[in-house]
Amino acid sequence: MERLSTKQSRSTISAEDEIGELIRWSLEETVGEAEPPADVWHKIIARIKEMDAPAFSPRRRRRVALPLASFVQAVVISVLLLAFGLEVNRNMPLSQKAYQASATPTISKVSAPAESDQDMLRGYMLLQKEKEPLPRNHRGERIVEIQKFR
């Protein structure tokens, strides 16, 4: 009865009607004396020992607290910062003026070196032809070819 009155005082809604009393009585009579079997604790502790140590275990704390860990962390952070800095420089956003200049389409003229190379080749071929002995006919006279150059 003492337990019942404690529950009643905790109730904030009107639950003291007949149906409430009947439900409470029924539940307490049905499961109120039920106890878990004695071996449940042994099963629980066996399962816990099989588990990995949870986050609050002292062993894991020690592992994190090693001085090497902080050194490695510092190195990794430095490398990441350096990589981030380089990447930022490479992809640095352009100023508005520079962006407009780079974004404006331009017509670029192909530079001359290709033509000058061609001219040099032509000149070289002419020189070679002059050096070659001119073909002669059966009487020993030179056959002069007239070449037209465009």
Partner: protein, 195 residues
């Protein structure tokens, strides 16, 4: 269940230092209400035992994150309710195995055999009526009437507003009242309200 809060905080602090004796003390402190809650919801002894095991294994794994400044009872019940919900979803039925251990429980000294039969019958009728409720209403009834949790504690356990808990209790009681009124076995013997 509603013991001094400092005791729980102290136990949690010791468990976090790797003290399994403290965890055993925590188990013995809460095993009965947790087991009874699971049993009242599932109606199956094996299921209740399994839920109790799972509850403490999960609790041990999560003790590093729990707020130990308040009582652990609502938190542990929250785990039990979630595990019970999983069980009920897997076994969508109200097992009849409950009858066996009800018989064992009532085998104790009772005033008269006539009274025993009446009590057993009434208890069975109410239990069957509770069994017809959905999981949320049934669990709310168990937490409120059996374990004596307040509405705000039940709201925490279900992670829902207090108004939802009130509503569940109201409709659960209404449904039970209607069901008991319609039960032929109680005709002419009991009148449960007029509303």
């Amino acid at each position: 269940m509603h013991e001094p809060i400092n005791e729980d905080a102290e136990l949690v602090a010791r468990i976090r230092c790797g003290n399994l004796d403290a965890f055993e003390a925590l188990y013995h402190k809460y095993k009965r209400p947790l087991y009874q809650t699971a049993l009242a919801i599932t109606g199956d002894q094996d299921a209740a035992e399994e839920i109790l095991q799972d509850c403490f294994v999960r609790a041990y794994a999560a003790l590093g994150r729990v707020d130990a400044s308040t009582s652990l009872s609502p938190w542990l019940h929250r785990i039990v309710i979630n595990l019970s919900a999983n069980w009920v979803n897997r076994n969508r039925q109200w097992p009849s195995a409950l009858d066996e251990w009800i018989d064992r429980l009532i085998a104790g000294p009772i005033a008269s055999p006539e009274h025993a039969v009446e009590a057993l019958e009434l208890r069975q009728i109410v239990r069957e009526a509770i069994a017809t409720l959905g999981f949320a209403q049934r669990a709310t009834i168990v937490l409120f009437y059996l374990q004596g949790f307040s509405l705000s504690e039940i709201a925490y356990i279900f992670d829902c507003p207090v108004g939802t808990v009130k509503s569940r209790l109201h409709y659960a009681c209404k449904a039970l009242r209607k069901r008991l009124r319609e039960d032929r076995r109680l005709a002419g013997e009991l009148a449960y309200g007029t509303s």
